[in-house]
């Protein structure tokens, strides 16, 4: 099965699912899965393709969440305008984090991006007059056209907006990774010295990749805020971070499609576990164990297992 036919088939199934799934809880899970799929697959751009360990990736999502929260609620801007805006603010966040990261190597990239995430969290907590602090913000304006609320008909509107977002984001990622730029990312990842010798400008590449991988998680964050109508610092917690990271790893880094599939698996699995009494905390623990097992026994992720085994070098 080629990637294109897999994508097309998947899309078709997702497009008709609302015909069969009428309860709003299941649809809610799909919407969450779409959002996490956007986060994880865009993370794969920096982590899997560029080999750049940006542990502050969720900052982009959080930027989107708070952009819509503040723009729509505090400033009264229409969420329809605020959501695209969050793509822009997230891109700016990407640009900011790329400034110190662009010239760093190895573990320092991890440390600085991780610290960046933590400090943005501190900023959100401390600027409570703007962000609502630890409590967060509630009653954020929702999506509607005319009198039609997107929450109605069992979240039908939100479902299709989220699906549309995932489709656009995925096409964008496929476009980026198949471009000359995408190829040069792989060249640098696989052999930095050689790529440098070939004249690839690594600093510029890192700035670009961090910015490009920020846009759609930002938009997804903006949508998330308008959908749940809350903005909370929880989006920057270790739990969210490890959940999104495990999607990339379990799905298979450097595949784009793998993290998307893993997002669906993990959202439904963790939600199913949350339904079992006493599992609320254990589910993240189980995801973490799963991540370790995948790294140990299937380092290429599930995508590697499904794909025809490659020839040994």
């Amino acid at each position: 099965m080629t990637r294109a036919s897999l994508l097309f088939g998947g899309l078709l199934v997702l497009a008709v699912i609302p015909l069969f799934v009428q309860d709003s809880y299941t649809r809610h899970l799909f919407i969450l899965a779409f959002i996490y799929a956007v986060i994880a697959s865009n993370w794969d751009l920096s982590l899997g393709y560029a080999g750049l360990f940006n542990f502050g990736h969720l900052v982009f999502f959080a930027t989107g969440v708070y952009t819509v929260a503040i723009a729509a609620k505090t400033l009264g801007i229409s969420p329809w305008l605020a959501i695209p805006m969050s793509g822009v603010t997230a891109a700016i966040a990407g640009l900011i984090v790329s400034a110190p990261v662009a010239r760093l190597k190895g573990i320092y990239v991890v440390l600085v991006t991780f610290a960046f995430g933590q400090l943005v969290l501190q900023l959100i907590l401390s600027q409570s007059h703007l962000t609502g602090g630890a409590e967060g913000m509630v009653r954020i304006p929702y999506l509607q056209i005319g009198d039609y609320k997107f929450i109605s008909d069992f979240k039908l509107g939100y479902y299709y907006v989220a699906l549309g977002l995932l489709i656009v984001s995925t096409l964008y990622l496929l476009w980026v990774t198949n471009s000359t730029f995408g190829k040069s990312l792989l060249a640098v990842r696989d052999n930095e010295d050689y790529a440098r010798a070939r004249g690839i400008w690594i600093t510029r590449q890192r700035v670009l990749v961090l910015t490009l991988s920020a846009i759609f998680p930002g938009v997804a964050g903006g949508f998330f805020a308008a959908y749940l109508r809350v903005a909370s610092p929880e989006v920057l917690s270790f739990g969210t971070l490890s959940l999104a990271l495990s999607m990339v790893l379990i799905g298979g880094a450097g595949t784009i499609i793998g993290p998307i599939i893993a997002a669906f698996l993990l959202i439904f699995a963790t939600e199913a576990m949350a339904g079992i009494r006493g599992m609320e905390d254990a589910r993240f623990l189980i995801v973490a164990i799963g991540m370790i097992l995948v790294l140990r026994f299937a380092p290429g992720g599930l995508a590697q297992l499904v794909r025809a085994p490659r020839k040994k070098p």
Binding site: P100, R103, I107, V112, A115, F116, L119, G239, A288, R296
Partner: protein, 287 residues
């Protein structure tokens, strides 16, 4: 004048705690080339176990301190065995172990939450009372931290420079094959480094547990601070790490005084960015 001295003192207390915490990270890093994200969670476990032994079981604080440090050390060895050892020799081991230890952190943190619950707990202070230093008053517990941390770090330094075992840690960190050919058991050394690093984390947890409430995420903020310290000081040497810890601790105290609690983390991060733009290997790091 009084505020100046008390700010100085609180900066030194912070610096001492950060130094204990960061030196454990740095020890593991210099020996194995692994950055242990679970370090903060090990600290949390140390504090919880100390609380259980000392308060819940009622064996008293000294027993609690010993149990807390020992359990953290033991868990550190387990972390090395389960999360690091299987990945030795993988080409991208550095990044894989970042992810496995991050997963380890989640497991320990959620595990702590399931075992001890979310209710706030606190350890008694190691010594009661207050101490007045140049007119500024701090708790005796904090004064103890100021005294104990440098002693522990001095002992660690003596250990790594004077004893066979300590020197073997440094040897393995610099050249694994050569160390093995001198008869050093490299995998034992790895476990030892992890155990020692975790013991330092546990000790930090026990000390911090007398000042702050013990929650499952007690270690999160100190971990980030320790990360800032190692970024600032470079990961290479114990001396640079300890120096950076006190610089950050004092900077933090004075920033809190001038900018307030809310803007301090932000200012620290900005300073860090500035440092990294000009010195990508840290302020004290060798290029």
């Amino acid at each position: 004048m009084d505020t100046l001295i008390s700010t100085l003192l609180s900066g030194v207390v912070l610096g001492a705690l950060y130094a204990l915490m960061a030196s454990g990270l740095s020890l593991v890093w210099t020996t194995l080339g692994v950055f242990n994200f679970a370090h903060g969670a090990l600290m949390t476990i140390g504090a919880f176990v100390a609380w259980t032994v000392s308060e819940a079981v009622g064996l008293g604080l000294p027993a609690g301190v010993v149990a807390g440090v020992a359990s953290a050390a033991l868990l550190g060895v387990v972390v090395e065995y389960l999360l690091i050892r299987p990945f030795y020799g993988r080409p991208n081991m550095l990044l894989i172990t970042v992810m496995t230890t991050l997963a380890g952190m989640i497991i320990l943190e959620k595990g702590a939450q399931m075992i001890w619950g979310a209710r706030l707990k606190q350890l008694p202070r190691l010594i009661d009372g207050e101490v007045s230093i140049f007119g500024a008053v701090i708790s005796a517990h904090e004064a103890l931290i100021i005294v104990v941390a440098p002693l522990i770090l001095l002992a660690l330094w003596q250990f790594t420079t004077r004893t066979y075992l300590g020197r073997s840690l440094r040897a393995v960190g610099q050249n694994q094959d050569a160390a093995a050919l001198l008869g050093i058991n490299v995998s034992f050394t790895f476990a030892l480094a992890f155990g020692l690093g975790a013991a330092l984390a546990g000790l930090t947890g026990v000390l911090l547990g007398g000042i702050r409430f013990i929650t499952p995420s007690l270690g999160a903020e100190p971990l980030v601070k320790a990360m800032i310290v190692v970024i600032f000081g470079g990961l290479g040497s114990l001396g640079a790490t300890v120096g950076a810890a006190f610089v950050i601790g004092l900077a933090e105290a004075f920033l809190v005084l001038t900018l307030g609690l809310y803007w301090t983390p932000f200012a620290l991060f900005l300073g860090l960015i500035a440092v990294l733009i000009f010195r990508p290997n840290g302020l004290f790091g060798r290029v």
